[in-house]
Every structure is written in structure tokens, then in C-alpha cells.
């Protein structure tokens, strides 16, 4: 898809604009959460919405995540489209009961009679020097829960387009916002802002022939950098941005892996029980005969998220990715 890039913007600005446009287009869209009103959110992603649409449409709630998501369920039952902000990844956990026991399965329990169009926005991931409980990558928990869409943009255009799609979706969407990309600037066309691929489709961000890096969200820029660095070693790396973890785009991923015969999955959440295991298994099941080497994972260590002064050792960086790529070659040689 070609989007004429005409305007630089940050991911945070694109997200704000997406909510604003969705609220203007549909009076059923309500934004709610801690500090989303007057303050505009701790990351300022809801800045100006309360002023423009009033406090009934952009609401500072009491400080209670289970309450926020639980009341959103009732609001959605009555025809509204709540867009809920969880302030940080680890502060969404009190809301898990609502998410897992109700939000994810209301459609199924009611045989389709009570769908819940709720968007749960969760700033996630590390790399911003946050103290304890401000850097978790919780995507695997969400992925393990049937009934939820799990979406994560890595570009400014996707931030806008995917959030508009999420809000318009009749299913609950966990919308994971890579907080270290909030301030990353990118060019973006606000005239055709929704012109991105739909939820459920992965995109090849960089074509290549030697091996495929499969990634999403905060790790996309790291993978692109690794692909640049790999050129010096004679490696032409392809980079696939998943964009959506659920539904998963087997087609794009497998087509890419079949082309190159080698794959590395990169993400900062833990490797064991993490998203990479699922992705590697799917690739192996579908592309076994095309593989020249085992599918490798480069992930965060299997430890609680470390304190900020040590996080650089935990987060997958360019070198760790290149090492994995080198191992692919070694595997191929013997």
C-alpha cells in the first residue's frame, strides 16, 4: 500500500488524532481511564479530548483498573464503544479478571448476542528507564486468551490506522502501544490516515533474501537497524512487522520464510512461554521443508523485568540479533 508521506508526526500524536477522529465520527466512542481528562494522560496521548468532547466522553475515572474495565463492559452492553486507557502495562493486571472472565468471552457465552466493542489501550514494554512495574511486555498473557484481538503498531501510520480499526471493531481489542516509540517521529499522511493494512495482516517492512526477521512493536526499529548492519556482513535481511499478534498472519509470515529459508523471531518479552515460541512453532509446522535452519528466537531473558540501569542487557539489541543471524548460517553450514 502506498501512502504519500506528507507530514512528520509522533506516534503519540497519531494516536491522539485517531481517538479524536473516532469520537467526532461516532458519538458512541468514549475514552476513559486514570488521568486521561484534564492531564491528557501521563503520556499526553488523550490530550485535548476532554476539552473538545466534554468530560462525559473523555472521563477521569477513579483509580481502579478492574472498575474501569468492568464499567466499560456495561457501557459496551448498552451500545457505547469504550476506549479504555491502562496507565502502564503492569497496572492493567488488576483488570485481568474482567478481561479474561468477561471481556474476552462475552460474545461466545451469549452465542453472539452480546459482542463487546471495547478497545483497551496499554502502553507497554521497556527501554524508557521506567522503575519497577513500568516496563512489562504482557502480550503473551493477552495472546493466550481466546476472544481478544491483540494489536501493536510500530509506525506512526499504523498507530493511527490500527487504532481507528480497533475502535471500529465489534470485538474487544487489546491495543499495545510501544511506549518507547511514542516520541519517535515519522512521516505520515493525515489526508489518508486510515490507509494501512487491516488488523490481522503483517507487512514486510524491508525485503531481503538471506533470512527473515519477524518482529513487532518496539523491536521493529531494532530489527531494521540490525538489517542495515547485516549488510556489511553480506547478509540481506528481510524484516516482517506482525502488527497484529491475534489474529496472526500465517500467510505473510510463511511466504517470507519460504523465500529466505531462515527465520529469527525478535521481541523483548520473555522467550520462554513468550510469543516467539508460538510463532516459531507455526513456521515449523507450515514451512518445515523450506527451512535451512531452525527458527531462532531473540527475546528478553526469562527474568522479572530488570531495574532501568540494567535493562539494556535484557532488551534484544542489534548485536544479539546479528549473533542469531550468524548462528543461522552456521546451522546451514553444518
Amino acid at each position: 500500500m502506498t501512502t504519500v508521506a506528507v507530514k512528520p508526526a509522533t506516534m503519540a500524536q497519531a494516536l491522539t488524532r485517531a481517538m479524536r477522529d473516532a469520537m467526532a465520527a461516532d458519538p458512541a466512542v468514549h475514552v476513559m481511564g486514570e488521568d486521561v481528562g484534564t492531564l491528557g494522560g501521563v503520556f499526553r496521548v488523550t490530550d485535548g479530548l476532554a476539552k473538545e468532547f466534554g468530560e462525559d466522553r473523555c472521563t477521569d475515572t477513579p483509580l481502579a483498573e478492574a472498575g474501569i474495565l468492568g464499567t466499560a463492559v456495561g457501557m459496551a452492553m448498552y451500545g457505547l464503544r469504550p476506549v479504555v486507557e491502562m496507565q502502564f502495562d503492569a497496572f492493567a493486571y488488576p483488570a485481568f479478571e474482567q478481561l479474561i472472565s468477561h471481556v474476552s468471552r462475552m460474545r461466545n457465552r451469549t452465542r453472539g448476542r452480546m459482542p463487546l466493542p471495547i478497545t483497551v489501550r496499554v502502553p507497554y514494554g521497556g527501554g524508557i528507564g521506567g522503575v519497577e512495574h513500568h516496563s512489562d511486555s504482557s502480550e503473551a498473557y493477552y495472546m493466550a486468551t481466546p476472544g481478544l484481538h491483540v494489536v501493536t503498531p510500530a509506525t506512526v501510520a499504523d498507530a493511527y490506522g490500527l487504532l481507528r480499526q480497533a475502535i471500529a471493531s465489534d470485538d474487544p481489542v487489546v491495543f499495545l502501544e510501544p511506549k518507547r516509540l511514542y516520541w519517535a517521529k515519522d512521516t505520515w499522511n493525515p489526508e489518508h490516515p486510515t490507509e494501512v493494512e487491516p488488523i490481522g495482516r503483517a507487512v514486510v517492512r524491508r525485503p531481503g533474501s538471506s533470512a527473515t526477521l519477524i518482529t513487532y512493536g518496539p523491536s521493529l526499529p531494532v530489527c531494521l537497524e540490525a538489517a542495515e548492519a547485516a549488510r556489511a556482513e553480506g547478509w540481506d535481511l528481510e524484516v516482517v512487522d506482525l502488527r497484529s499478534l491475534v489474529p496472526f498472519d500465517d500467510e505473510t509470515v510463511c511466504a517470507a520464510v519460504r523465500r529466505t529459508g531462515r527465520a529469527v523471531v525478535v521481541h523483548e518479552s520473555t522467550g520462554f512461554g513468550g510469543p516467539g515460541g508460538e510463532i516459531a512453532a507455526r513456521i515449523t509446522e507450515r514451512c518445515f521443508h523450506h527451512l535451512e535452519a531452525p527458527v531462532l528466537r531473540v527475546a528478553g531473558f526469562d527474568i522479572p523485568y530488570p531495574p532501568p540501569m540494567l535493562e539494556r542487557h535484557h532488551l534484544p539489541g542489534v548485536d544479539r540479533i546479528l549473533d542469531a543471524v550468524a548462528r543461522l548460517q552456521w546451522e546451514a553450514e553444518g
Partner: protein, 381 residues
Amino acid sequence: MTVMEQRGAYRPSPPPAWQPRMDPAPLLPDAEPYRVLGTEAAAKADPDLLRRLYAQLVRGRRYNTQATALTKQGRLAVYPSSTGQEACEVAAALALQERDWLFPSYRDTLAVVARGVDPVEALTLLRGDWHTGYDPYAHRVAPLSTPLATQLPHAVGLAHAARLKGDDVVALAMVGDGGTSEGDFHEALNFAAVWQAPVVFLVQNNGFAISVPLAKQTAAPSLAHKAVGYGMPGRLVDGNDAAAVHEVLGDAVRHARAGGGPTLVEAVTYRIEAHTNADDATRYRGDAEVEAWRAHDPVQLLERELTTRGLLDEAGIESARQDAEAMAADLRERMNRDPELDPMDLFDHVYAETTAQLREQRALLRAELEAEQNDQEGDLR
């Protein structure tokens, strides 16, 4: 004939007599926050205690300004100042016996330090070199809790366990006004009351949860009122009046120790600084409100009481100031040293016995670091 008519007239039997389980009146908080300083009650307060509170308040204030300065120098990643709330912090620590436990929230570094924890160790969470720098058992202080209200059920459990063991240990748990909206707050209060656990809950109502004012947090007449519904007394106290907070907490602690069960104390105070150094408070509140609270400063309130009553003179003030200055200088000096960090620590203490998987990851990181080191040495050569 309708179905109802066929069945005959419906005569409800009278309900059994209903009795409230207890008289709620003694549980209800006072209409006004309890005060000592500037009232007749002050004359009865122990001068030594007042002087001890004063010394700790001055230290606490200095600690706050020093820690905030350290954020500006990049030595501290973030600091949630408790300036204006020092009376609550200090009284919380001084109301406890050594064998008691403190369960602090992330803003309560001062209470942790006043309890005897090393000031630098109390800051590791906020500096970012480790999550909890101190040994919780050394001073019976639980780790500073970042997720709000989640430490409150822990306090209840610990107090309950101590009582089951026959120990007369009390747990004091601290939470902000915003935190009282969390489910964990309600569950903790309910457990504590049902179990009659020796716990004291201290709510520091400083007016805001980041940007959200109390009026958007609760519709209750006061946060202390919340206690009554669970069956425990609620007390309302002026949180800037160190003597009053100390007295109310002291009463609650004694009550708990004697087997009387939990108390909820709401201390009405104000957060003078922004939520943290990273927050912009001008977005949600005006200067006039802050200035009005500055005039009700906890340090000055106590200082005025002590000097008017001749319990403190210029020399006493100066000596408290110097003591605080020495503490700040030491803190500054030690915080300005680079922390010693070993990345290999990442894999320690995840489990009692490390797993094969973690040993593998440890080896990977070690190899990476060695390669990094060799590269650097190569560059130097």
C-alpha cells in the same frame, strides 16, 4: 380470576427482628480533622516527643529537597516528593515499636528512612539500580510498593500471621487517596475487620491522584468514613499536625496490639510538589491552592508550637537544621558515586535454585560482555 387471586390473598409474614451487628456510632470519624498543635491538647503532649518529631520533620524536609535535586542532576531517575506530607511520614514510623511492620507505598521513602533504613538503600528503587535496596527483615519494612494498594492485603496477612503465632506485632500500611479506589483496598479492609487483624491503615489524603482530585475519586463524606462499612473505626486527622497524627496512629496501634482490631486513619494533607519531578502540576491545579497549603506547613506548625511554648530556641532550630544538612551532605555524596552494578545479578534470585535455562542465558550474557570488553580493549590499542 387471576393467578394471584386463585392463590388467595398474599400475606407476608413479618420479618424477623433486625439488629445491626454493632452500634456504628463509635466507628464514625469526627466531623473535623483532629488537631493538637495550636489547641489546648498541645499542652498535654510530651515535649520530648514533640522535639523528636520536629527533628525528624526537618530531616524529612531536607531529604525531600535533596532527593529532588538529585533528579535534576540525573542521579535519581524519578522522585515522588512528599514535601508537605512529612508529618504523616514521620509519625507513621515513630508510632511503631521495633517489632512492628511498615508497609509503605512508593511515595513513603521518608517513613522508610525514619524507620532506620539507610537513606541510599531506600532510594535504589527510584535510582534504578535495583528494585528494593534494603533487607525488609532488617527493619521490618516491606518493599516500597509501586502498584497501588496491592501491599495492603500483605499487611493484613502479616499481622494475622503474627497474631496466630502469638506475637503482639502490629502492621501499619500506607496508601494514598487514589489508592483507596482500588479493589485491593476494599478487600484488605474487609479481611482485616473480619479477622480482627492488628493492622492500621494510614491514608494520606494529599488531594490528588496524579491529576485527579479527591472529588472525582470518591463521593464519601471523608475517606475515614469508608471504615464504618467494614466494621472498623475511622479516624480523621490533620495530616500536617505531626503531634495529632502521632497521637491518632499511636492510639490505633495500641488498640490493634491489645486485640481491638484494625483502624482506618485518614490524614488530610497536601502534595506541595508535582506528582513526581516528571509531572506538570500546572495542568490540573492553580497556585492559590498550593499557597494556602504552604501556609499550613507541617514543619512550621510544629516549630511555632515549640518556640511559643519555650521548648525550642534558635540554637535548637539551628542544631536540627545542621543535623539535616549533614544527612543531606552524606546522601548527596553517596548518591554521587556510581552504583556498582553487575549485570550477572539479573539471573540471581529469580528462583531459590537457578534453572538450567537461566544458567544458559547467564552464559550468553557473560559471553556478550566479554566480547564487548575485548572490542573496547581493541579500540584502545
